[in-house]
């Protein structure tokens, strides 16, 4: 009996101590990990969309509630105007979800760039959605509020040959991005206004300092 109690006590104390240590470490590294993931997973796609931006879109980000989900938005300052945002949406591909980073100009509602962040498509076939820059480049300049469909389904998207399912997934992801954009546009405009005034303020501060 005494041995039994000892076993229970030792294991309980050990587990509790381990749980506490891990929880505090997780809290401590949470922000850092989130930034690292941004930088290495989504970063390349974001920076590609905002080529020539004068700010750092990875730092200038905010979150908005869209129903129950929280979405991250990245702000880009192009040609002196903070009127572009990028955000992520997902479409169902051949081997799982395809993550898309979609950049859009709020004045014209047009897509300024699309990048694939994550995918698990067949290497060499569906994976070309990420590696072939020509595929995502075709979306540039399209109004985001369109419904995207591949040409075989009577739409406007040139599918990757041999990877129709992947192309459909990307099109669906873009259509979804359009819906998110429509839902959140008023809030996005408000947030962006804050960003442009904030940017001016820090500039003044720099001059004074």
């Amino acid at each position: 009996m005494r041995e039994l109690i000892k076993m229970v006590v030792v294991l309980t104390v050990l587990s509790a101590f381990s749980g506490g240590l891990l929880a505090s470490l997780r809290n401590g590294t949470k922000d850092k990990i989130e930034y690292q993931q941004l930088k290495f997973v989504k970063g390349p796609a974001i920076l590609d969309i905002f080529k020539g931006a004068t700010n750092n879109p990875l730092v200038d980000r905010f979150k908005l509630k869209d129903g129950n989900v929280e979405r991250s938005f990245f702000v880009g300052k192009l040609n002196g105007k903070t009127d572009t945002v990028a955000f992520e949406s997902y479409g169902k591909g051949f081997g799982g979800d395809i993550g898309l980073m979609v950049g859009v100009n709020l004045d014209t509602n047009k897509i300024i760039g699309v990048g694939v962040t994550t995918l698990s498509e067949t290497p060499g076939v569906g994976s070309r959605a990420k590696t072939d820059p020509g595929f995502v480049a075709q979306f540039k300049g399209h109004p985001l509020e369109e419904t995207f469909k591949v040409k075989a389904d009577g739409g406007q998207v040139d599918a990757l040959s041999g990877a129709t399912v992947t192309s459909r997934g990307v099109a669906a992801g873009l259509t979804d991005a359009g819906l998110i954009y429509k839902r959140l546009k008023p809030e996005l405009e408000k947030k962006l206004k804050n960003f442009s005034t904030k940017a001016v303020k820090t500039k003044k501060g720099e001059k004074n300092g």
Binding site: E3, V10, L11, S18, L22, T29, K32, I33, Q36
Partner: protein, 197 residues
């Protein structure tokens, strides 16, 4: 406790070098040694877990009831593995991406549990520390050697920089799984030949 602390450390470098002499921990040895960086990264992560778990197991060896010792060891090891995983995600993210699933799999690495059970649970803290560091360093050296050979012949680079001229065709067999087995086998063979003399 016939051996000194230094002896406990040194034995891990040759006499009991894990993948070659103990032939333990082969799963990460074969899987992550595509490049020397990955090999060293994996070795350092394992060494950290090994040292920490050895010290803690040894310090608690009189408290832990022998019937639940394996469960207790696993809790200790799993905690340190998660610590390593979080730290790697926070500070060396590219390495974390290339090692992938093999970081959490350190939990079931035979070397770590083997040292806890066979050594740390029977020896003093300082000796266990030395043992952990020795075995860990040996493991790191072995992975680095295997990684270097595979990287040089498989991709034609060493630590990311090309070592051969542009006319070199990478021997891509070496960076695939069969190449890992062949390479490990040859190294074992050399180790045994040298050890016999």
């Amino acid at each position: 406790m016939a051996k000194s602390i230094t002896q406990e450390f040194v034995k891990g470098l040759w006499e009991e070098i894990p993948p070659f002499r103990l032939v333990l921990g082969l799963c990460p040895t074969l899987a992550v040694t595509k490049t020397i960086q990955d090999g060293i990264g994996m070795g350092v992560a394992t060494t950290f877990v090994l040292v920490c778990s050895n010290v803690l197991v040894s310090a608690m060896r009189n408290i832990i009831p022998s019937k639940v010792r394996i469960a207790a060891f696993i809790i200790i090891i799993a905690t340190f593995v998660t610590v390593v995983e979080l730290l790697m995600q926070a500070f060396t993210y590219p390495l974390f991406l290339s090692l992938g699933i093999f970081i959490p799999l350190i939990v079931v690495n035979c070397i770590v549990l083997g040292r806890a059970e066979a050594f740390a649970s029977k020896n003093a803290v300082m000796h266990s520390l030395a043992d952990g560091m020795g075995i860990g360093t040996g493991f790191t050296l072995a992975l680095a050697a295997l990684g270097a050979v595979r990287e040089v012949f498989g991709s034609g680079t060493f630590w990311g920089t090309p070592v051969f001229g542009p006319s070199f065709h990478p021997f891509s067999f070496m960076i695939q799984a069969p190449g890992a087995f062949v390479c490990l086998g040859l190294m074992l063979c050399i180790m045994n030949l040298v050890g016999k003399k």
